[in-house]
């Protein structure tokens, strides 16, 4: 194809090659070269790269991907090579030439039907093992952590069965802790539209479909913070629906869970106390619960649970940081970003329910004063 020349149909436009043509060919080669190098420039360390699997499920899925890519690559090279070869070899040299009129070749056609069929069936069967493996926690695992993830427009609610009391659940939002090296089964639910639960470095996604009882599993092989994002289009702020998975050692996980169960700490700071008042009077508490434990299966509130907001590393479903790079909560970040959020939440998350339904945002007479915002920031920052 690279040797393609422009030959006109009519004598008047008949040309062999032109400057433009050469420039375009050069551009095409350049573009292809850039794109080819792209395969090597993809950053596997990127936050949501699927090329850096850190758990067995993502790992199995990537292995399958490589096999298919290699198989596809071979087909690609063979077919494109045949195409380009034919274009060079069989170009018309003489306007009157009439090639041999071949109408087909039964044997050849049967061959290129059967061989691809065998290849694709082989690939499918080879992948089925990985498919069943990634579907549910392996039967032979001796310990499993189960939790529930519930999709809301546009944030994630997480519930753990209470370790002391099977009737109750520990509730948190947008940040989910898991123990390293232990399979985690996640039951998926949604309260409104379809969302999709995806932590690229741990496992491929499974949709959170209302009332379908979906589930998935993954396991983190190393400690760390993993990026997750909703993958199914779910309305205006679909782009702003993220979460984090934090993998810690099993003892740390147990400690975190019991910390989560503890009631919210009320601060003695006068501004924070004032903020506690605003939290109730402005109607925040109507949607945001501060209770950490609820009956199993009970319906969550409209907004994310805030009991331990100030211990979370991010705000507004992963949209803003409240921690430094090492994962330690930084009060200054937290306060700055909380203020931004409270001043104009729809700037950060267009279409969010708080902006469109909470009286403090819909009714200009009731909107939060500077003082009230400061008080709320102080109060929320105290909820360690």
């Amino acid at each position: 194809m690279v040797t393609m020349k422009d030959r006109g149909v009519l004598g008047s436009v008949f040309i062999n090659s032109s400057q433009t043509q050469k420039i375009l060919l050069l551009l095409m080669s350049l573009a292809l070269a850039v794109l080819a190098t792209g395969c090597f420039i993809i950053d596997p360390n990127a936050n949501q790269s699927t090329f850096e699997p850190l758990g067995p499920v993502a790992d199995r899925q990537l292995t399958i991907f490589w096999w298919i890519l290699i198989g596809g690559g071979v087909v690609f090279v063979l077919v494109e090579a045949a195409l380009i070869y034919a274009l060079i070899k069989f170009r018309r040299r003489d306007e009157d030439e009439l090639p041999k009129q071949v109408h087909g070749n039964k044997r050849l056609e049967i061959l290129w039907t059967i061989i691809p069929a065998i290849v694709v069936i082989g690939f499918s069967i080879a992948s089925i093992d990985a498919l069943f493996y990634s579907a549910d926690v392996p039967k032979d695992s001796d310990k499993t952590v189960t939790l529930e993830a519930i999709g809301h427009q546009w944030w994630f609610e997480f519930r753990y069965p209470s370790p002391n009391d099977p009737e109750n659940e520990v509730i948190t939002a947008n940040e989910v802790y898991i123990p390293v090296g232990i399979p985690v089964r996640i039951n998926l639910e949604s309260v409104d539209v379809i969302h999709s639960f995806w932590v690229p470095k741990l496992a491929g996604k499974v949709d959170m479909v209302p009332s379908e009882g979906n589930y998935m599993w993954f396991q983190a092989d190393v400690p760390g913070e993993f990026f997750g994002q909703c993958a199914e289009y779910c309305g205006t702020s679909h782009a702003n629906m993220k979460f984090k998975v934090v993998a810690v050692s099993p003892p740390e996980f147990d400690k975190w869970l019991s910390d989560q169960m503890a009631s919210a700490v009320e601060s003695g700071d006068p501004l924070a106390l004032e903020g506690a008042g605003v939290f109730k009077s402005a109607g925040c508490s109507g949607c945001h619960s501060l209770k950490t434990v609820a009956k199993s299966g009970s319906k969550g509130r409209v907004g994310p649970n805030l009991a331990h907001l100030a211990s979370r590393r991010h705000l507004a479903a992963g949209m803003m940081d409240s921690s430094d790079g090492a994962g330690n909560v930084n009060d200054a970040y937290l306060q700055e970003n909380l203020r931004k959020w409270l001043e104009n939440p729809s700037e950060i998350k267009p279409g969010n329910i708080m902006s469109s339904q909470a009286a403090v945002y819909t009714d200009p007479d009731k909107s939060l004063t500077e003082r009230q915002i400061s008080a709320l920031v102080a109060y929320l920052t105290s909820l360690k």
Binding site: G72, F90, L98, V193, V209
Partner: protein
């Protein structure tokens, strides 16, 4: 009959607006379809460009989240229903009667009706931008389309205009099936049909089987939204997954509806410019039929992450992988066609070859998605737009463009500028690869599709920028294309009847074809009859394109009619009335529109036939 007051005489308008409004000439309707579809293609392209500009850098604020969501929904719906499908229909209209040796389609007035109804649906959908278009994605997953989630009129416009477009597609499909079965010239057996006609035939069958499924789904959605039904309302026992099944049972055959006409075009172009018959004609026809049958068994591969369970996913993995086989057969046969040929690279040939090269990439990434284990990572990421654009742009659009250049001399009677054509080709090749290839990279790096913005530091910045730059190369390509088309049509050199040394019957008549197409209905003795005749193989004298003789007065042609337009207008008004059912009096507009539609149908059925000998048109 003609004594009834309703029996208004047939229109006689040889030129002008009235001529276009009342024409039932399949060639003119083909041109109407083509021009309208191309305008819609530009509108979809503008929507895409806005999205790419918004995504060129992280956290841009060129368009709002709400507008972005409308843009991608409208872009998808526009390109599929208003651009690629009607571009296919433009070719069906213009080419099929010429290829099978007919003077028109079986139901000429129904054909005009199809076009006007298509225009009604298209206008309706695009006009929904006024007041807010739909933003639920082109596959409109429940419950995003519910009245609670989406109380605006955008979704209603989307639903009703898709229904209207469905009527257009169904009418056209029945027409083409009947035409291809009944209107073939003597000797044109099914296995002598040109490949493009064959693929059209298959496409039309797919359409009449697939569209009712989406029609039912849309009716259920309409009932949910208008009358409080609960088909997709989970809290009342409905199911949101039901919508997905219905949508994709339609949606996957739809993919083949989009690509099969393109495959047909390529199968016409390659033999002509290789001076060799299509390699394995029977196999290519059978592969098309197998694709059409297997296309019904793979829909759930769009739903691998919905939670149908590993067993269902395994079954759909295998069926989807298998559908790659007939597609592969076609690609191999195309290469077999040019292999050993005498290849001349003209613009249409370049586009057909580009089709093979690019469609292959989309085919391979399709096989990658078919493997549901690894698709769990790719589903709903940018890898999917990358894949589908290689299929629909690198595939369907490249092939349709090839067809536009290939048949341009035939429908315009002029030659296009070959230099500009090749410039267009290279700009398209570079542009589409620069635009769509990087989407694979960001997809694998975890960028979900349908996000209106992204934060810095995700590793997506570079390739999004590259992708956006590619769009401008594509735009440059289309500017060259439009200039070439307009200039050549106005003042290009006259085209001979058979500029490409063609193989099929449309090249045996003058360019542009006379209104009656064939002076004498040809008798077909073989596949590629015109080519064989020229080679002296059909025991006839070597003819000249266009033939000779002047026996024109005895040809009876179907006559123009007002009523297809009036009926479609009634449908348009009625459809608007369904969306705005509360304006003034409830349902008043819908009732008025329905009444106009009935008048149209009534008058249509009683329309008299003018005496052709009194006519002075030719």
């Amino acid at each position: 009959m003609s004594t009834l007051p309703i029996a208004i005489p047939r229109p006689v308008h040889p030129t002008g607006l009235w001529n276009w409004l009342t024409t039932i000439d399949h060639k003119k309707i083909g041109v109407l379809y083509g021009v309208t579809a191309f305008i819609m293609f530009i509108s979809g392209g503008i929507e895409a460009t806005l999205m790419r500009i918004q995504l060129s850098q992280p956290e841009l604020d060129i368009v709002s989240a709400a507008v972005f969501n409308q843009l991608f929904t409208m872009h998808g719906t526009t390109m599929i229903f208003l651009a690629i499908m009607p571009l296919g229909a433009a070719f069906f209209n213009f080419v099929i009667p010429l290829q099978i040796g007919a003077r028109d389609v079986a139901f000429p007035r129904l054909n005009a009706f199809s076009y006007w109804v298509f225009l009604a649906g298209a206008l309706m959908l695009k006009l929904s931008w006024i007041g807010g278009a739909t933003d639920a994605g082109w596959f409109g997953y429940a419950p995003l389309t519910s009245i609670d989630q989406n109380p605006g009129k955008g979704i209603d416009f989307w639903i009703i205009s898709l229904q209207v477009l469905g009527i257009a597609s169904l009418a056209a499909s029945f027409n083409f099936i009947v035409t291809i079965i009944n209107m073939r010239a003597p000797g044109m057996t099914m296995m002598r049909l040109p490949l493009f006609t064959w693929m059209t035939f298959i496409t039309a069958i797919l359409l009449i089987l697939a569209f009712p499924v989406i029609t039912v789904a849309l009716i259920e959605l309409t009932f949910d939204r208008y009358f409080g039904f609960n088909f997709f309302n989970v809290s009342r026992g409905g199911s949101v997954v039901l919508w997905q099944h219905l949508f994709w049972v339609f949606g996957h055959p739809e993919v083949y509806i989009l690509i099969l006409p393109g495959m047909g075009i390529v199968s016409e172009v390659l033999p002509v410019f290789s001076r060799k018959p299509l390699f394995g004609y029977t196999t290519v026809v059978l592969a098309g039929i197998i694709i059409a049958v297997m296309g019904w068994m793979v829909w759930s591969h769009h739903m691998f992450t919905v939670g149908l369970g590993p067993l269902a996913n395994a079954v759909f993995t295998i069926t989807t992988m298998l559908i790659a086989v007939p597609t592969g057969i076609k690609v191999f046969n195309w290469i077999g066609t040019i292999w050993g040929g005498s290849i001349k690279i003209t613009t249409p040939m370049a586009f057909s070859l580009g089709f093979i090269a690019m469609f292959l990439i989309g085919g391979i990434s399709g096989v990658m998605h078919a493997v549901s284990a690894s698709d769990a990572q790719q589903q709903d990421t940018y890898f999917i737009p990358a894949h589908l654009h290689y299929v629909l742009f690198g595939g369907a659009i490249m092939a349709l463009t090839s067809g536009i250049y290939y048949w341009f001399p035939k429908f315009s009677g002029k030659m296009f500028n070959e230099k500009m054509g090749m410039l267009h080709f290279w700009l398209m090749m570079i542009g589409q690869n620069v635009t769509f290839f990087p989407m694979h990279f960001v997809g694998m790096d975890g960028m979900p599709r349908r996000i209106y913005t992204y934060t810095e530091g995700m590793g997506w910045d570079l390739w999004n920028l590259v992708s956006t730059l590619g769009v401008f190369i594509l735009i440059a390509g289309f500017v060259v294309f439009i200039l070439n088309m307009v200039k050549s049509w106005k003042s290009g050199p006259e085209a001979p009847g058979d500029p490409w040394d063609g193989r099929t019957l449309e090249w045996s008549i003058p360019s542009p074809p006379p209104e009656y197409n064939f002076k004498e209905i040809p008798v077909v003795r073989s596949l590629d009859d015109w080519w064989n005749t020229k080679q002296g193989g059909n025991f006839k004298e070597i003819p000249v394109a266009g033939g000779s003789g002047d026996e024109e007065h005895s040809i009876h042609l179907p006559q123009p009619s007002y009523w297809p337009f009036v009926t479609a207008l009634g449908l348009f008004i009625a459809a608007y009335g369904v969306v705005f059912n509360q304006l003034f009096v409830p349902w008043a507009i819908a009732i008025i529109g329905t009444f106009i539609g009935f008048v149209g149908v009534y008058a249509w059925s009683l329309e008299p036939v003018n005496d052709p000998d009194e006519e002075s048109t030719h």
